[in-house]
Each structure stands twice: as structure tokens, then as C-alpha cells.
Symmetry: C2
């Protein structure tokens, strides 16, 4: 027998600069159907893009026999505002200005739509299906091309006065002119050091400064994956890069702990594939830098959501938050 | 005619290292009676101290004819835990270890007791009676002997997983060995620079480094008040001290804004008597350092609560939060 709760489904949409992924998800976090065929960059007109999403959703609902069971659509998209449902001035998307994503997609699909940025979606995904199940105070830090964050306090995502709270990738870690330029136009941001891109920049800097031999010297465009591979092969410079990156990240986390005293900080995204190479120096730096009041209280964890599923699950989890009936 | 709501009263107790203040407060924030006669340091036994508070409360209730109208007691005390009602390992109080303040005082008085630290009490006071009335997302920064903070998100005070969240005086502003020693045992904390004590330390440092004449050179133990008086007299070194202090505080606030995107940050406490001398560089530094997403959104304000009343009002406001009937 299928109960009413088990019948409810949600749809997760993850809009990225390159591709857009869509999935139908049940209450246990199983993805019943998925589509990764929409190339975001192929649509010069925003409404055409929303039409494409709506068409895929309609096809998936029919194919899975999910008519009447979809409770909501959750969308993770860069620079999107939970309060308004708009994407606002996104750097990495083809369309400029303010885009009424939630309104447009809910009108076309007849399903309520909730929108937030990918890091916030990741936090809700962790709370609904992942490592943060049952936690009421935690922070998710996404370590990918950039550094993002989703903050949960008293069981609620922190959106702030404008819908954009939780930009912890842009706290300043190195003040003054020696701080690295960040994509945001400011200097010394956490993101400029502790993203995948930041790791690659640290590699380039260290290879210039240090004379020591390294297998990284043979490569042209070093990526964080190269640094990881070299570190796993025992390369001393590569190991040092993870040590530096983890230490700075841990110093930042110690400050975040002073803010909201979370039960856990969960690391998520590409860079966490480095596992203990990253996690060990992070934990050491947290322990060294955190205020005595908080010592040993906050767990530092790596997300247990599968990389390939996490974006869809995170976005879909947002739809469970909606109380609107369909 | 007195309505039921108007009949309700609360009691605010502010426990400081030197003195303890008690007031009976109505729903408008008027203090109907006050007592500042308890010398905290005079009680070597904690229970004797709680007895003294209870005796004063009993006397004040009788004197004002408030029997049956007291809805709760709110207490602001250093290192106190909202969840447990205990004071835990307070540096500045005569008693060591974990002290069951709320349990003991509520048993003796027969009135429900809520406890939190003074900065959290200040934030609730601002929300109930002060500058933050009607705001759901704001941060109060207390600038006194130390730097404390009370953070409100979605209309709720942030206590974190352990009851101690909101220690923004201990985010690290100067990393490494050149950071000033802080009272917490770590280096480079905001508190070591932007408290009243920090201002005095900056003065001592600058007078050593800079050859320029200053009226501060004639003084023995420079306080932040001396620096303020000198600055108002046009003393260039004193003006520079406020410029430096405000700039660093503004840099810190820009990071706090990236966390919770508050509608306002409210500065509170002794150092704010410097007014625009402090506020102008703070605002400039926030504007220069804040992420573009948040530019111009967060108001930087000085508390409008009277200094002499604020501690009692802040503590009393905590008691309105309690839903327990008396």
C-alpha cells in the first residue's frame, strides 16, 4: 500500500552555467527519473529556457506516471533570491538583469516553485536527505569553482533581510594589498584561496617561489585534481598546498563557529574528494584557532550525498519546505 | 482602566563583575523601580548572592504593589547559558565552575527565570524597546571593556547548539604572531582592538611609534575617554586612533554582513559615546569592504537606549520571551 506521504514527490532543478539537471525525487531522497540534457548556454532567450525546463518536466511526469503527485519544484540557481523567486544579475548565466524564474516556471507548469542559490539548496539537501538529518544548527560550505555557504540556524535556512545571506566565500582572510584578487572584485576573500580555482592558484604561486622538484612542474594548466593526484603520489609541494588550503579554511571556520556555534560544519563539492588530505589540516586549524568556549563542540564533516545526485537532491529538498498544496 | 497586558510586568537583573542592578519594567519599557545596591564581589558564596537578589526583588515587588503581576525574571550575566540557565566558568565573577542561576533564583522567587549573556540581553532589549523594534534580522555589537554581540535572525536570538553563539568579539582580525594578545588567550581578536581597552592599547602603541606631539602624552593611564576628549579637542593622534578603530570595526562588520545579511548593525556601549568620531570610519570601511551584493543595504546605527537603563531593560526583555505563566 502506498500512503499519502509516500505518494508525494518533488522536482529538483539545478541550473548551472553549462548544464541544467532535472530530477523527480521521493520523500526518501530516491531519484525516480532524471534528465541532464538541457544546455543552459544554448538559450539566448530566458523564456525559451524556462519553456525547455517545463517541457522536460512534463515529459518526465508522464513517463513516471507522477501526475497529481508533484508537491513542488525546487530550483537551485546562481544569484537567485528565495524571497522574490528571481535570478538577479547572475555572472555565470547567459541572461542579464532580474529574471522572474519562480513566477514564470510556476505559471507554465501549474506547480509551486521555490528558488535559492546552489549552496543554500545544498544545505537544505543535507538537512532533508544527508549528513545534517536531525540537526538544527549547521553550516554547509561548498568547495567547487567558488566557495559558497548555506547556514541553518534553529532549523531554518538563513536568508537575511534581502534573501542573499550566507556568502561565506567572501569573508576577508588576507587584508590589504597582498590579498589575492577575487572574482567579486575585492581582495583576500576565502574563495580566492580555498576553492578548486584557489588551489590551482596556490600551486602556480608555490611552483614559482619554491625551487623543490615536483611532478606538478611537468603540467601546463594545473587543476586542483592534478594537485590531488600529485599529493596522493607523495609530492611534497602538492601535500603542502593542501596543508595551506586546509589551514586557511580551518581558520575561517573557527570564525564562523564564533558566529553561530553550529553542531557541525559540512564540507561539500569537488574539492572534498581530497578527503583527509584536506580534512586533517582543516580540523587542526579549527582546533588551534577556535575560542575556548567552542573547543571540541563542532563536528567537521564531509557530505555523504553522492556528487552526481547532490545538486538535484538539494534543489528538490527546497520544494518540501513549501506548504502550498498542488 | 488597566488592561491585562498593561498589568504584566517583568524584572530585569544585570549581573556585572562589580555591581548587580535590578529593575521592575512594564511592557512599554518604563522602569517602575530600580535597585543598584548589590555589590557582586561582596558575596563569596553564590547562594548568598542569589538570596540577596531574591530579597531585593521581594522588597521591590511589595513596594510597587506588583504582587501577581510579575511575568518573569530575565537575567543578563557573563558566560551564562540560555539553554541550561547556568553561569559557566565566568572569568569576571567571584564564583568558579557551573552555577545553576536560573534554577536557584526561580525556586527561591517562585517566578520563571531566563538567563543569557549581557550582549544577547542587549539585542533582545533593542528588539523589544529600542532601535531594532520591528526588525527581524539585525546584530548588536557591544563596545565596552570587551566586544560582545547578540545576533537576531528571523526574529530569534541565535544561541547555537550550545547556548553560547554570537562571540563576534573573538573573530580574528590580525592573523599570526603580530596579532595582539586577547584576554581569551588567543591573538588578533576584534576585542583586542575595538573595545574601550583596545582603544587605550592603540593609544599607548601609537604614542610610542609616532613622534608627533599629543595632549595624550601628559597622561599616565590613558583610557578611551581620554582619547575621546583629546580627539574632540582636535588632537591628531587621538583622531587617528578613532579612525583606525572604526576602520577595523567596519572591516569586521563587512564580514558579519556576508554571514547573515542583517537589516541593521546596532552599536551599543561605552565606546559609542564617541558618536561620529567612531561611526564615520566604521561606515566608510563597511562600504569599502562589503560584498557588492550587500552594498548599501545594512544600516549602521548607534543604540538609542539610555546607558543607565539599557542593562536592566535588556535583561528584562528576556522575560517577555518566556511563555510560562506565573
Amino acid at each position: 500500500m502506498i500512503t499519502d506521504v509516500e505518494k508525494n514527490l518533488v522536482i529538483g532543478v539545478d541550473i548551472g552555467g553549462t548544464g541544467t539537471k532535472i530530477g523527480i525525487v521521493d520523500a526518501r531522497g530516491d531519484i525516480l527519473a532524471r534528465d541532464e540534457g538541457i544546455a543552459t548556454g544554448a538559450y539566448s532567450d530566458f523564456e525559451d529556457f524556462v519553456d525547455a525546463i517545463n517541457t522536460v518536466i512534463g515529459r518526465m511526469v508522464t513517463a513516471t506516471g507522477s501526475e497529481g503527485r508533484i508537491r513542488g519544484i525546487g530550483v537551485g540557481a546562481p544569484d537567485s533570491n528565495y524571497y522574490t523567486g528571481n535570478i538577479e544579475h547572475a555572472f555565470n548565466l547567459p541572461w542579464k538583469g532580474v529574471l522572474p524564474l519562480a513566477d514564470m516556471l510556476s505559471q507554465k507548469s501549474g506547480i509551486p516553485v521555490q528558488v535559492t542559490n546552489d549552496a543554500n539548496a545544498a544545505a537544505i539537501g543535507e538537512m532533508t536527505y544527508g549528513t545534517a538529518k536531525g540537526m538544527r544548527n549547521f553550516i554547509v560550505i561548498t568547495l567547487g569553482t567558488g566557495v559558497g555557504s548555506g547556514i541553518v540556524i534553529n532549523g531554518q535556512l538563513v536568508y537575511g533581510c534581502d534573501g542573499f545571506a550566507g556568502e561565506l566565500g567572501h569573508v576577508t582572510m588576507v587584508r590589504g594589498d597582498e590579498g589575492r584578487m577575487c572574482g567579486c572584485g575585492r581582495r583576500g576573500c576565502l574563495e580566492a584561496y580555498c576553492s578548486a580555482t584557489g588551489v590551482a592558484r596556490t600551486a602556480a604561486e608555490m611552483l614559482q617561489k619554491v625551487g623543490e622538484p615536483s611532478m606538478l612542474r611537468t603540467l601546463d594548466n594545473i587543476t586542483s585534481r592534478d594537485v590531488y593526484a600529485a599529493a596522493m603520489g607523495g609530492d611534497r609541494i602538492a601535500l603542502e598546498i593542501f596543508e595551506k588550503t586546509g589551514t586557511m579554511l580551518g581558520e575561517a571556520l573557527a570564525d564562523f563557529i564564533a558566529f553561530s556555534s553550529p553542531e557541525a560544519i559540512i564540507l561539500f563539492g569537488g574539492l572534498t574528494r581530497a578527503g583527509d588530505l584536506l580534512l586533517d589540516p582543516v580540523k587542526r586549524a579549527v582546533d588551534k584557532n577556535v575560542l575556548h568556549t567552542f573547543k571540541g563542540k563542532t563536528k567537521i564533516l564531509i557530505s555523504n550525498l553522492k556528487d552526481s545526485d547532490a545538486a538535484i537532491l538539494g534543489a528538490s529538498a527546497l520544494a518540501w519546505e513549501s506548504n502550498l498544496p498542488v
